[in-house]
Symmetry: C2
Amino acid sequence: MEDNKTALSELGEFGFIDRLMKKIKISDKSVIKGIGDDAAVVDFGNKKTVISTDTLTEGVHFDVSYTPLKHLGYKAVVVNVSDIFAMNAKPKAITVSLSFSSRYPVEAIDELYEGILLAAKMYGVEVIGGDTTTSLSGLIINITAMGVANEEDIVYRNGAKENDLLVVTGDLGSAYVGLQLLEREKQVFKANDKIQPDLEGNDYVLERILKPEARADIIELLSKMEVKPTSMIDISDGLASEIFHICTQSEVGCSIYEDKLPIDPQTVLKAQDFEMNPTIVALNGGEDYELLFTIKQEDFEKVKGNPHMSIIGHMTDKNAGVNLVTRDNSSAPLTAQGWDAFLKREADDEGKEEE
Amino acid sequence: MEDNKTALSELGEFGFIDRLMKKIKISDKSVIKGIGDDAAVVDFGNKKTVISTDTLTEGVHFDVSYTPLKHLGYKAVVVNVSDIFAMNAKPKAITVSLSFSSRYPVEAIDELYEGILLAAKMYGVEVIGGDTTTSLSGLIINITAMGVANEEDIVYRNGAKENDLLVVTGDLGSAYVGLQLLEREKQVFKANDKIQPDLEGNDYVLERILKPEARADIIELLSKMEVKPTSMIDISDGLASEIFHICTQSEVGCSIYEDKLPIDPQTVLKAQDFEMNPTIVALNGGEDYELLFTIKQEDFEKVKGNPHMSIIGHMTDKNAGVNLVTRDNSSAPLTAQGWDAFLKREADDEGKEEE
């Protein structure tokens, strides 16, 4: 352990937890008891509680060689609250479980927690519990998020109807391009550690992968616009994959239009640098944490022209399947490649390149 | 992968989740939406929600070479619902997050889930969500449990008062002795794999480590007896450690009596086999998942003689500290050794023996 670093064994488990508890202040009155007992106690009143859990694993979901720990902590919260927003609910509390090997000194975990607490503050959620254990290798972050909503406001994946319009927020594929960039510079650095990473001018795509934001603003906006989506999901695995989830659960088909896909110019340029088709990147990239939802035709006027939302297609009969209408106006079935963690691992294991 | 085993990559992430969802049936009406959307939706009515999370990590909390996966799944649920019981609440729902390396075929995870679902059924909790990710090495199980209670029934760690009686359920130290036995037989087997493990006649201590139960019965019993503990905690780290938690949070001291500690005869015999002091084993063993609570003096008659409960001491002034009155009637300060996962790891890393 370096001189200015503290091994966890110096503090002990309880010492570490005490230290952590001092950093976590609860201000939300719905939290009756936070960290420090066998369980937390919350009172969300008469609203329904919405619960989601997500794990980020070193070597699978992130690479600490280019992911600052503070950003990682921030992102771990974002990934979870994004699921709560995707139910049209408001996140209220999270539990945080960390497993880490002795390679991580206390200061590293502090940095991680700094990001967690910053995101918690940003999204108005309280850290109400968690546990901290050692792992044999690497760092694993599991967060469970709880939110609230009135029953009539909750939006599921299964409510899309034929002729509904398909809407996506923000832009697509930028996180994936950012990841490619980080991976490339890592390889360059591994080959020659005298060469400094060349990341200049790529702020946007890098921020999208390293410090994404969940779309709290969209949930507020929809409420103000008086639009209740008929179905909604967040884009973690990739647009195509999420469209398939909505179509399968809602028992509808879908046509989306290549020329309607929102892609940031920086993403287009970078994708071309990597000799990737920007449309494929937008469809399959993943980790965008944008919201994908369907609305009734009658809400078209409310959504049209909104700078945060793009209408990218419409829902069809189930038997028509899921189709992409390309720029040359031909229609082809879409495949839900998604961002399958298992397939990716397997491909990596075999030394193959993933598409 | 063996012939009759299925690699996860064959099913893919979504295929695996679909397969899992078919096994999970929700019957509790308070679960409005279980697995299959961005988040689960629950309605616990006007009661308070109690939330706890716990992680079991391969190589730290369990060793798959002698832990059947079905038992492991069962135990992962028990560990979590035990925390809910320790709040005097009723567990209702769990989320399950699994991280596992490609070493685990689908059938192994099925076995793990069999145990999870069996325990869920036993304790009346619904599996409402979770996620499944790959890990670089080993298996990590994180469960978040949610329960309900009327606000006036919830018991915290911080309510013990001077002169309250300290009560523990069941018996202590058996899980630790069971673990020592498994470790010993593992070493024998490693040295010579022709020698079959000698575990006969040790059913009780083995069951205590491999398939513990949480004390749902005690929560019901306390309610029937009309006894509301003034403080309560479950024994995961060891009796001594948990006593310190209650004393610290309640700002009291405590005297416990060596001759009152409930230790099963099999545990005493086995501890002696290992040349361990049974009292030390009972104080510091850990993983008992019994309940430790304080009651008012006036409830003495109700608890006295109950076969599930032992009165082991009483609370004192904070300044008196935490003391053990030994069989020879001398009093000595107790130390909260606990079962510090970090210290244990460090000691193991340095090849030292843990006490």
